[in-house]
């Protein structure tokens, strides 16, 4: 007989949990005491529950394992909410344990009581309160199973304090049988054959790859399929890395900030084979004009993602890897005439680039990473920094680019990078953030120092909340409402002001990094980049912040204005 608290720890050990991202509180103190007595599960203490969830998320995305969180009841749980929703939107497997007040107190507005399950029900894959000690083992076993199988996602297990104190069996279940949850583990061969006969007849076929390819670990098989068939590839933002971005048949990202060639390909193809994407509004632009004359084959493990936004011709409910294996059985090399080369020419003619802009640009910063690091892990924040990274970063495979694509959560990048570094101690890990988002979890410098995580945090500082500002510039008559973060709200960062050293920003990021004992470097010119990165490479006792000052009115281009069709894209910034 062991206590519920001891049992939780035993379950974590049985599940092979390497790291538990934990913030303490009264409702989990019993479990923490049991954790204290063992060293199989390493306990990490971030400095805020939101960051904690993102760290577990970064760990999960970069390792393919389940990320595990534990927080206390009430505010601990509510702070976790953004992280849960972030993981849900991007299909990241998390198990989140939340402490809860005694069952007998629930509903009484007890101290630090909220209806956690009620709050998270619509933003996670599954949520449940443990109401009986004898159900604890089954629920925990099921939580890990549900989180990692099918379309992965976060699972919340709410554990009242009295359950933690109740004695019960120590046997951990060996099998899972949930009558309402049977993830699809097969492929409908008839549908695959139908798809293949359409693909074989296509004159302008195109692969549209989403995050599902990487989640299922199908990157190598996918590359083989592309090599075999010669069919060009475009990706969604989440799909980048589905095949190497350096592959000769890869055109780039599609969507409202996608490249010209990929979006033309999407509009002109006659057969679209989309795998692991849900045709989110950021991909399609105006729905009524999206891929009007195209036959769409849609492969997704989640039946609900198929025909949700776009009516498809051949739906195939299957894990991407299984489906790609089957496609490899049936698809032969195809004669596509000059379709691939036409698209490549278009890509070269209208590249996604900032090379026409002088001085330090996000592209040049990211290019340095492309040129000097082999398979780095890069986490982004949200906004322009994210869009630039997903445009310019070369990605070789899965578990390498971590970004909040679905929910678009500011504050994600830095803690996600820390989680990724823990899961991949040998990897070179970067976080690329804006000056806005990085302040949403800036306290994680303490965590990074504490655990000696040599992450390089790049802050692209333009003094503004850039993505919203870009919209204000282009569609709201330059009414920069609430987007200026400079001390002087009428000021703006220009190439001239950078050269003159006029940059009045709060906080001073370099000094802030130094206050934590971390390394802080400010870069304003291209030729300072190399020195900064070299210093970062050498600094091992904690993170290095490289603050890159860039002009305010530098935009993410190309872009498709809201509500417009993909063919209405704006290609370049006006000079």
């Amino acid at each position: 007989m062991i206590s519920g608290a001891a049992y939780v720890v035993k379950a974590l050990q049985e599940e092979g949990v390497e790291y538990l991202f934990n913030y303490p509180g009264a409702a989990t103190i019993d479990i923490m005491d049991e954790l204290y007595k063992q060293d199989m599960v390493k306990v990490i203490l971030p400095r805020h529950e939101q960051a904690l969830a993102h760290a577990a998320d970064g760990y999960a995305r970069s390792t393919g394992k389940v990320g595990v969180c534990m927080v206390t009841s009430g505010p601990g749980a509510t702070n976790l909410v953004t992280g849960i929703a972030t993981a849900y939107a991007d299909s990241v497997p998390l198990v989140c344990l939340t402490g809860q007040v005694d069952l007998s107190l629930m509903g009484n507005d007890a101290f630090q009581e909220v209806d956690t399950v009620g709050i998270v029900r619509n933003i996670c894959k599954y949520a449940i309160t443990v109401r009986d000690r004898k159900d604890l083992g089954r629920i925990l076993k099921e939580a890990f199973y549900i989180a990692r199988t099918g379309r992965p996602g976060p699972v919340v297990v709410d554990i009242p304090k009295n359950i933690q104190k109740t004695m019960g069996s120590d046997a951990y279940p060996t099998e899972v049988n949930i009558r309402g949850y049977k993830p699809n583990e097969t492929v409908h061969v008839g549908q695959i054959k139908k798809a293949c006969s359409i693909i074989a007849k296509a004159k302008r076929p195109l692969f549209l790859l989403g995050g599902g390819v990487s989640i299922s670990g199908a990157n190598v098989l996918m590359t083989e399929l592309v090599d075999r068939t010669g069919i060009p590839v475009v990706t969604t933002l989440m799909g980048k890395g589905a095949i190497s971005s350096r592959h000769p048949l890869y055109l780039g990202n599609v969507g409202i900030h996608g490249g010209y060639a990929p979006n033309v390909a999407l509009t002109d193809c006659d057969v679209m084979i989309s795998i692991g994407t849900r045709f989110n509004d950021r991909i399609t632009g105006k729905l009524s004009t999206f891929a009007q004359n195209t036959k769409i084959i849609h492969i997704d493990v989640d039946a609900a993602s198929i025909s949700k936004n776009i009516k498809v011709d051949i739906p195939i409910v299957a894990d991407a890897k299984l489906a790609i294996e089957k496609l490899l059985e049936y698809l032969e090399p195809q004669d596509l005439k000059d379709w691939p080369s036409q698209l490549q020419e278009l890509k070269e003619k209208e590249p996604v680039t900032q090379s026409y802009i002088e001085g330090l640009t996000p592209e040049r910063v990211i290019q340095y990473i492309n040129d000097h690091y082999e398979k780095p892990i890069v986490a982004t924040d949200v906004g322009q920094n994210q869009l630039w990274t997903t445009q310019f970063l070369e990605v070789e495979g899965n578990q390498q680019l971590l970004t909040s694509g679905g929910l678009g959560t500011m504050g994600y990048g830095f803690p996600a990078a820390l989680g990724a570094q823990m899961g991949n101690p040998k990897a070179r890990v970067f976080a690329i953030c804006g000056d806005g988002g990085v302040q949403m979890n800036i306290q994680e410098f303490a965590t990074a120092m504490h655990y000696k995580l040599p992450v390089t945090l790049i802050v692209l500082n333009n003094g503004f909340l850039g993505n919203v500002r870009q919209w204000q510039q282009l569609f709201y008559d330059k009414h920069y409402a609430c987007t200026n973060l400079l001390m002087d709200e009428s000021a703006m960062v220009t190439r001239e002001s950078i050269d003159n050293g006029e940059f009045d920003y709060v906080p001073n990021f370099v000094q802030l990094a130094e206050a934590y004992g971390a390394q802080g470097i400010r870069v304003t010119k291209i030729d300072e980049l190399e020195g900064a990165f070299k210093k970062a490479d050498q600094f091992k006792k904690g993170p290095t912040l490289i603050e890159c000052i860039i002009p305010t009115e530098l935009n993410v281009m190309p872009m498709v204005p809201a509500g417009k069709s993909l063919s209405d894209m704006i290609l370049k910034d006006k000079k």
């Binding site: 029900r121 619509n122 609900a304 025909s307």
Partner: protein, 169 residues
């Protein structure tokens, strides 16, 4: 442009705290229009069965079925669209401030339309009506017309089951 249609779904769900909130929350959160939802324990006490009536277009309907199916708490979804079913709703109509003539009228209506008078006192009569939702709507309209501002209505929402030899649709 979108063709809205009335639909009926039956769903076996786990008989647990929070499952009703999960399903109704799914409808609210995804902006699905719910007409009626009834739920009760089945022959197996670990399971409940829901009857859900809704009005939506084909595409939304397909999504709703899929979203229900992917919920861990939902064990089985039965789409009644192309099935013969028996479907009834329990309706109570209480008529207040009744004079003797009103009471006689109510008994006459009950006999004509096969309703049951299940309770009454000096001033009021309680009528029970077990029919399809649309027939119940007709009954409410009739009572409303005859006993203006004097009726009280409680309705239970449809319950439906696969038909054997005779069906409601």
């Amino acid at each position: 442009m979108l063709h809205l249609e009335k639909r009926c779904i039956s769903a076996y769900v786990e008989n647990q705290i929070g499952v009703l909130a999960k399903i109704s929350g799914l409808f609210a959160g995804k902006n699905y229009n719910l007409d009626t939802l009834t739920v009760g324990e089945t022959e197996d006490p670990t399971m409940s069965r829901m009857t859900i009536e809704l009005t939506c277009d084909d595409l939304t309907y397909e999504q709703i079925i899929k979203q229900l199916n992917r919920s861990v708490e939902v064990i089985k979804v039965i789409d009644f669209t192309d099935m013969a079913i028996t479907k009834k709703e329990l309706l109570f109509i209480k008529v207040n401030s009744c004079k003797e003539a009103d009471k006689q009228e109510i008994f006459r209506i009950a006999e004509t339309f096969d309703l049951q008078v299940i309770d009454y006192n000096r001033k009021s009569v309680l009528v029970q009506c077990v029919k399809t939702v649309s027939k119940n709507n007709d009954m409410i309209a009739l009572f409303n017309d005859m006993f203006v501002n004097r009726i009280e209505v409680v309705r239970g929402g449809s319950v439906a089951i696969e038909a054997l030899s005779t069906a409601d649709k």
